[in-house]
Symmetry: C2
Subunit: 232 residues, 2 copies
């Protein structure tokens, strides 16, 4: 593993405070791999042999049942993923695929669990991470159950604008069909919903979004930190 990668991992909240010795041991068993786009990195149901860290590129988490498929999350560097499966030593609940050429760091789950037993700082960080993830999934459930699809889209755009530091114009992070699936809607419905939001000052050109009147959009979207703030 490159020095830059080691520093990268180290900077993740989950690894930041653990003892050097433990961190070194974790890195010893780790390896890095670069994948082309559209590679299925992990498949739901399989044993969780590695904790994954996305170092470069883009990854989609998704799930399948009975011939259907839905996007569960879109990841960008630097993030770890499938921590819960690793910790519990249980099969993956979600699958993951690269959306573009991506570099993934693989940490053997056994090592992660072993070091977790020994290093208290690491254990605490894992708790914080899992609690945060848990709360984000709960927020997502509320989003799905309490809002219509157009409301979810409106709030998604508001959040995107926040992420773009409030810029009037910003880019959607991935193709629309993925965002549609993430929000629990079809591409067709997504497209129409976007047009409908034109009434509230949303303009769209390809992946470029312009929010003409944020006030107006927010008034419609009615965001709340209890659903829409990913940090709390």
């Amino acid at each position: 593993m490159r020095d830059s990668e080691i520093r990268e991992i180290r900077s993740l909240a989950i690894f930041a405070k653990m003892a050097d010795e433990a961190f070194d041991r974790l890195c010893r068993g780790a390896y890095v791999q670069t994948f082309p786009p559209q590679i299925e990195l992990i498949t739901e149901g399989e044993p969780s042999d590695f904790l994954h860290v996305l170092s470069e590129g883009r990854v989609e988490m998704f799930a399948r049942w009975n011939g259907r498929e839905t996007t569960m999350a879109l990841l960008r560097p630097v993030t770890s993923f499938i921590l819960a499966a690793t910790v519990r030593d249980r099969p993956y609940l979600m699958s993951a695929r690269t959306l573009e050429k991506s570099r993934i760091i693989l940490l053997p789950s056994e090592d992660v669990r072993a070091i977790f037993e020994e290093d208290a700082a690491f254990a605490r960080a894992v708790v914080t991470e899992l609690a945060t993830d848990y709360r984000n999934v709960v927020k997502n459930t509320k989003n799905l159950k309490l809002r219509s699809s157009i409301e979810r889209l409106a709030n998604y755009l508001v959040r995107r604008q926040d992420r773009a530091e409030g810029a009037r114009t910003f880019q959607l992070p991935v193709e629309k069909r993925k965002i549609a699936s993430l929000l629990g809607m079809t591409p067709e419905n997504f497209s129409r919903a976007l047009r409908t939001l034109g009434e509230y000052g949303v303009e769209i050109d390809g992946l470029t979004v312009t929010i003409r009147d944020r006030e107006d959009l927010v008034h419609f979207a009615k965001p709340t930190p209890l659903i829409d703030d990913p940090s709390t």
Copy 2:
């Protein structure tokens, strides 16, 4: 706190392995309260001052947004709830109300966090609990996004029968409207879906369900451990 209650809490996986000293300290600050039915124990958005343990009775977790409300979970003894909010010292994401007369043990969140910092066994147990909870919410999301409402209901009944150790006849745990909301459907739609499942050998009389032909129902429901097994 009564001796029986102390033993009760102690038997929860999350508290089972911690040091006696730490456990005693946790109990010292704890107190117990009995609530009548329909009392809102906690309200989303409020600071998470206590980790709650349901000792007797029944509790509903629910969430509100923009005048709408949805059931998030139904709890029965003995369970802790809102662990993630406590650990992260963040506002509750869900509200909770008693469905019947209930006894609740309240553990000051500050104590929980303090002891969590000191007692490694407790920290590990918290991780396991959070990872399990996280995975259950993910399963729930898959259930919501990948299945129609009648498929969710069919799988719910299969799970219920499992919980009743496979008995042909068993009782629904709460009023139907709550189950409907939990499954993300209206009471009317719930009622009709139940009738529709008659085709697959489901009979209903009040809260009493009889599964005439489990094979048939399972064939329709297509359960998978990656959604329907709460233990993995």
